[in-house]
């Protein structure tokens, strides 16, 4: 195979996965953009002048009708819980328990009313609180200005109240604390996390509720009870505990009503419902059907209640409460006022006028919001916005017309029907607007989710089959792999044609997923055709087939153990506890995998010396010598794995967890001594890393030439370390200690990181331009006379052992005719040719490592050291294991190596202080080398992304090392053998040191091997991703979906994207080196 098809094919597979991820994401994650604007009293949405004059003091936009309000939120108060049916003789545990609501509604029909309160999905408490206060439809990701905290940035009811000088008192669920920091006049928070605890929150509220109400020092009092919800999660609704809980709520409401004054509005609301099992989060009928109860001591309604309770969308509460309390409606509200609450006890006409004015205000506000939203985001369809605009302008026009004919509060009788129809038009506009928003913000698309899942699953299957196919045949696979690439555009074009005929809008995502599906079908079709052909061939030779079956069975059994570990890893994604504890699960599985590997080697007898007759007599066996080496490596790996657990970040789900002390930057350390100690340790560690890399390169003779790249490794690496050390020194110094040097420090903080960026990119560029780290000594012309250009030439015996002269048969053969008469010692000695591929990768990895360390806090460089050591040990373990198992297939990387490599990658995601949750992202990485103001968003996103996926990047780029390492290690093994041999044989031994040049000997197999490695890596990554995606899809009703599964899915898919791109880069780098080696050879031949 050529080089290009390999990269192209891998890129195509990556694109298949990306299409799957994109399709799933578009169905699962609904995004919305938060607007930073907020309403104020002086906004021009206020009604025309004649009514403005009558605004009482303390009112904005509309006259204040209540000076105080009590909002009781009973979490998960399903409508059935609040509804009272006296006809029912044997009620279920949750039925007919809130008698006080029914009693009030029947005895005072103009004072109290019960509504169905429709929650918008996602029905998770946090999203519902956002919805109940902003009047908008929060999605899982509200793209706002600040990701780091959960605080609500949008304009909301509480912000409006505080802005207008009202006092808001809160008691209950501590989720509100994070959402509204410093908004409350007084607050009593109680922990909400423990779902098993039914009483702490409720009892806490009851303790403070009545004294607070009686004290009167509040304008809005919010009490958020959690007992009913927790009871649902713990026992389900159909349980005696629920009856007790609801009875307690009933008593609470009964006595609360007695404490209320005449100017107080009481609202009792459920934020969402619950399913039969007591869960919520999705969009089923039971989950969205909550209850709302309104009560006041003064008459509220103009007429009695309707037969069947009305249904009110949850967002409608916000504009209603805002206008009733006389504050502006929050900017992003899309709810509609509940007009009947504005009727009061005046006559029908003035009530209608009143309602008209609030509708007008409401419509103007919604119109303003939609205008500014459509300027920022394109997710609302344009034609519908156009339609809405027409509705609005016609209604407003009629409104102004009508107002000219109205004088004061006297309305000509002929205008009454027009008044009614105008109200209807405003209502229509508001409902249409909300429907448009709901459609694009608050709905899962199950079809897209399933489609995305299927696409990812089939891509995984494709990876597996392609990797097997590439192994079985080399010549044909090219056509089989590349045909599908043409199928993709064909599929896309077909879809496009269909769309051209049906005149519908074209979604880029849909087109790309169609293309992906079509090209996959193409691949599978080709594969099936080949399979049939082969089956026919083998069918004619039955005995071969049975032998093949047994072999295949054995191969399957061999696969079972690494795949079993992968299976456990994927299964763990389906449990929220395991996702939370993944930081401990990945190292556990990694350790198990390696131990199993050793155990299996032992079991198969690879570790023991083949039994001689004498040993057989004794019935004992003894170990080979390499076993100690292997055991030491395993022990080192286990120690690395264990040590890496000291760098973990915490999640809030594990309250007893303490974040690692190494995560905080050095600047936060108070103790100067400790600070200096750690600083010196970090710098020493960096220097040690450079020394280790340089000595590794020197050992393999890659540090001899005078190419710019080698010079960079010799002198540029220490310079990079120096810059990083200076940056750390400046960054960790205490601000005030430097005094006059403050300005210098400001400059240095920016200059040093930029110097590192510059140096590192220079190094990477040099690597790309000329990745050869080979020093060639051409003795053909000189015929024996050795000239020493500079150090590094084998002078002593030690050097001779360390620097391998590579002698090429091909070269020799081509030169033979010319050289026959001359000295037979005339050869080309190339130092470091045997490890030229790995050397390039190691240099690239070191540079990347420096960059990523710079982005992390200083002391996490320990974790990076562990990462490098662990990767090194893993490579050696797999090399050693393959050597012991006498693995003949040097060109195929075993599955356990790939899986352990990926397990290590996810282990170090956690060990570099990350967690798959948004508050755990290291945001300050965006400001390394840059001042606080970024003109564009791309650069900080890249920096934070690089920081978050540091281990994914390093392991994916280093992935080709899995293939190369056994070749590199070939030397040390044969050297050991050589020591025993006679000196005469030494020369012949030297000739056998092909190392990585074995790969060049068979370029076809090399390309295929790289392709297979890439496909295996993508398969394992894809399997993990598939598990995450399935977990998010299946468990989308789970309590933890927005806290655990959805962020995990996001991080995993982003990690997949980063990993696959880096994998491509790593493989391309190897290809680039291969090209350079080819040109080097051809130049040599020409000379």
């Amino acid at each position: 195979m050529q080089r290009w098809p390999v990269v192209l094919f891998l890129a195509w597979v990556c694109l298949l996965f990306f299409a799957g991820i994109g399709l799933f994401m578009s169905g699962f994650l609904l995004t919305r953009i938060e607007l930073a604007s907020s309403s104020s009293c002086s906004d021009p949405v206020v009604p025309p002048l004649w009514e403005r004059q009558s605004l009482p003091p303390g009112s904005c936009w509309a006259p204040q009708r209540f000076s105080k309000a009590v909002l009781i939120i009973i979490d998960a108060l399903h409508f059935e819980f609040a509804h009272f049916d006296p006809a029912k003789t044997s009620p279920l545990p949750y039925e007919n328990k809130l008698g006080v609501l029914h009693q009030l509604a029947t005895s005072q029909p103009r004072h109290a009313r019960l509504y169905r309160f429709r929650a918008d999905p996602p029905t998770a408490t946090m999203q519902r609180i956002k919805g109940l206060t902003t009047g908008s439809l929060p999605t899982f990701i509200d793209v706002g200005s600040n990701f780091a905290s959960y605080a609500i940035q949008e304009d909301n009811l509480l912000a409006q109240l505080v802005q207008n000088g009202r006092r808001v008192v809160f008691m209950g669920d501590d989720t509100w604390e994070g959402l509204f920091p410093k908004k409350f006049f007084r607050s009593y928070f109680f922990p909400s996390f423990n779902v098993k605890d039914l009483h702490t929150v409720d009892d806490g509220i009851l303790q403070h509720l009545y004294p607070t109400v009686d004290s009167g020092e509040w304008d809005l009092l919010i009490a958020h009870f959690l007992g009913v919800d927790h009871c649902g999660h713990k026992h389900g609704p159909n349980h005696p505990e629920m009856a007790k809980k609801l009875t307690q709520m009933n008593e609470m409401l009964r006595s609360l009503v007695d404490h209320l004054g005449n100017d107080t509005l009481l609202l009792v609301a459920g934020d969402h419902g619950m399913t039969e099992t007591g869960d919520h989060g999705g969009d089923s009928e039971k989950e969205v059907n909550a209850a709302l109860f309104v009560y006041s001591r003064t008459p509220l309604f103009g007429s009695g209640p309707p037969e069947e309770p009305e249904t009110v969308p949850q967002v409608n509460l916000v504009p209603t409460v805002a206008l009733l309390l006389g504050v502006p409606i929050p900017y992003s509200n899309i709810g509609e006022v509940m007009a009947e609450l504005f009727a009061g006890d005046s006559d029908a006409v003035s009530a209608a006028l009143e309602q008209l004015s609030v509708y007008h205000i409401n419509a103007k506000q919604v119109y303003r919001f939609l205008q500014s939203y459509s300027l920022v985001a394109q997710d609302l369809p344009a034609e519908q916005l156009q339609h809405l605009q027409e509705l609005f302008s016609s209604a407003v026009e009629e409104h102004t017309q009508l107002l000219t004919q109205v004088h004061g509060t006297t309305v000509p009788p002929e205008l009454k029907p027009r008044l009614g129809s105008l109200i209807g038009r405003f209502q229509h506009y508001l409902r249409e607007a909300r429907a448009v928003c709901t459609q694009s913000w608050a709905r899962f698309h199950p079809l897209r989710m399933v489609g995305g899942c299927i696409l990812i699953a089939s891509s995984c299957l494709l990876c597996y089959m392609a990797s097997e196919l590439a192994a079985s045949s080399q010549s044909l696979c090219c056509s089989c792999l590349l045909y599908p690439l043409f199928w993709g555009p064909v599929g896309a074009a077909l879809l496009w044609l269909v769309h051209v005929f049906t005149q519908e809008g074209l979604d880029l995502l849909l087109v790309s997923s169609w293309a992906a599906a079509a090209s996959q079908l193409g691949f599978f079709w080709h594969w099936w055709g080949r399979h049939l052909k082969r089956a026919r061939l083998t069918g004619s030779q039955p005995p071969l087939a049975s032998g093949g079956l047994r072999q295949r069975l054995r191969a399957w059994l061999g696969l079972a153990f690494p795949m079993g570990i992968l299976f456990f890893r994927c299964g763990a994604m389906f449990s929220d506890s395991f996702v939370v504890a993944e930081a401990r699960v990945a190292p556990f599985l990694l350790a198990s995998l390696v131990m199993l590997l050793v155990g299996k080697l032992h079991w198969d007898g690879h570790l023991t010396v083949p039994e001689g007759p004498k040993q057989q007599l004794l019935g004992v066996s003894s170990y080979r010598r390499e076993i100690w080496y292997l055991l030491c490596l395993v022990a080192m790996l286990l120690v690395c794995v264990r040590l890496s657990s000291f760098f973990h970040q915490c999640r809030e789900e594990i309250p007893q967890c303490r974040p690692s002390v190494f995560l905080s930057p050095l600047a936060s350390l108070r103790n100067t001594r400790a600070k200096n100690f750690f600083y010196l340790l970090c710098v020493a560690l960096l220097a040690g890393l450079v020394y280790a890399v340089q000595s590794w390169l020197r050992h393999y003779g890659n540090l001899n030439s005078s190419d710019p790249l080698v010079l960079f490794v010799r002198w540029g690496f220490p310079l990079v370390v120096l810059c990083i050390a200076c940056y750390w020194a400046v960054a960790s110094s205490v601000d005030d200690s430097l005094g006059r040097l403050q300005e210098l420090v400001q400059v240095a903080v920016v200059v040093f990181p930029r110097a590192v960026y510059g140096l590192a990119s220079m190094g990477l560029l040099l690597l790309l331009c000329n990745p050869m780290t080979v020093f060639a000594k051409d003795t053909r012309e000189l015929a024996g006379s050795i000239v020493t250009p500079y150090l590094g030439v084998p002078g002593s015996e030690v050097d001779f052992l360390h620097v391998i002269p590579q002698i090429y048969k091909r070269m020799q053969e081509s030169q033979k005719s010319r050289l026959e008469r001359g000295s037979c010692r005339a050869t080309v000695a190339a130092y470091g040719l045997g490890s030229v591929y790995s050397a390039a990768l190691v240099i690239a990895l070191t540079l990347l490592g420096f960059l990523l360390m710079l982005l992390h806090s200083e002391r996490l460089s320990f974790a990076f050291l562990l990462l490098f050591v662990e990767a090194f040990v893993l490579l050696h373990i797999q090399t050693c294991a393959r050597g012991l198992a006498r693995d003949a297939e040097l060109f195929s990387v075993p599955w356990y190596a790939v899986i352990s490599w990926l397990l290590a990658a996810s282990q170090f995601f956690y060990s570099t202080g990350h967690q798959p949750i948004f508050p755990a992202i290291h945001w300050n990485a965006a400001f390394v080398g840059f001042h606080l103001d970024h003109s564009m968003n791309l650069l900080p996103a890249v920096l934070v992304g690089a920081n978050t996926f540091a281990s994914h990047i390093l392991f994916a780029v280093g992935c080709p090392l899995l293939l190369l390492w056994p070749f590199v290690c070939e030397m040390s093994n044969s050297q050991r053998k050589k020591a025993k041999k006679e000196s005469q044989e030494e020369l012949q031994e030297v000739e056998e040191h092909m190392m990585e040049m074995r790969l060049r000997e068979s370029p076809e197999e090399f390309s295929t091997a790289l392709l297979r490695l890439g496909l295996k890596y993508l398969f394992v990554l894809g399997a993990q991703l598939l598990a995450c995606v399935c977990a998010a899809m299946i468990l989308r009703r789970h309590l933890m979906v927005w806290k655990v599964f959805a962020p995990k899915f996001l991080f995993e898919s982003l990690g997949f994207v980063v990993s696959s791109i880096c994998l491509l880069l790593g493989i391309s780098l190897v290809m680039r080196v291969d090209c350079a080696v080819s040109t080097w050879f051809s130049q040599l031949r020409l000379r």
Binding site: K196, S575, D576, S577, F578, V580, A581, R584, V585, P587, F588, A591, S592, H602, W603, D604, G605, T608, G619, V620, S621, S622, Y623, L638, V639, V641, R642, S645
Partner: protein
Amino acid sequence: MREAEVGRLLAANLLRALAVVLTAVAPAFFLDGFSVLGTHLTWLCVCSVCVATLNIILHLVLRPNQSPKRRSFAHKISRFLKCCIYFFMSCILFHAIIVLYGAPLIELVTETFLFAVLLSTFTTLQCLCLLGPNIQAWIRVFSKNGAMSIWESSLQITSMCSILGAWFGAFPIPLDWDRPWQVWPISCSLGATFGYMAGLIIAPLWIHWNRKQLTYKSR
């Protein structure tokens, strides 16, 4: 001959399993407030001691590996001391491995160590009884086709089942069920115990099932 030996093995294994069950039940009659979950450390001690004693007694009674030579008393003593040292070392090794697998390093050292002792009792002690302090024989037994008698096959199976049980026992620890047995190291030690008992039952059955295929090399 073979059938009779399998029968003896079955009887011995059943006796061992019974002993494990008894350690969970019997001490409640002598000790106040004893329960496997509540006073786990006590149970770990009792179980280790009982299983160890029973194994040694069974070994003395059944003598699965009759040694033709009669050794001197001094030799026996040195052998016994060697066994003790090996056992202790295996406890330390298990402790280290358990900690490397993620057990807490400083807290709960007693629990971890007793768990290591339990694991050693289930695995190393049996090896010591059957094979003596002879590492090379151990190596042989734990490889494919390495077992030379049904006793050694049984040893293979029970040891592996115990280790596997302990490994699976770690799985429920992260779950948020708030059960008393999810506390470290209860689930692991229970897993190891169940694995051991399963191994005890499986081993004779497996040997009986595969008696045609099992051809042990003579020494």
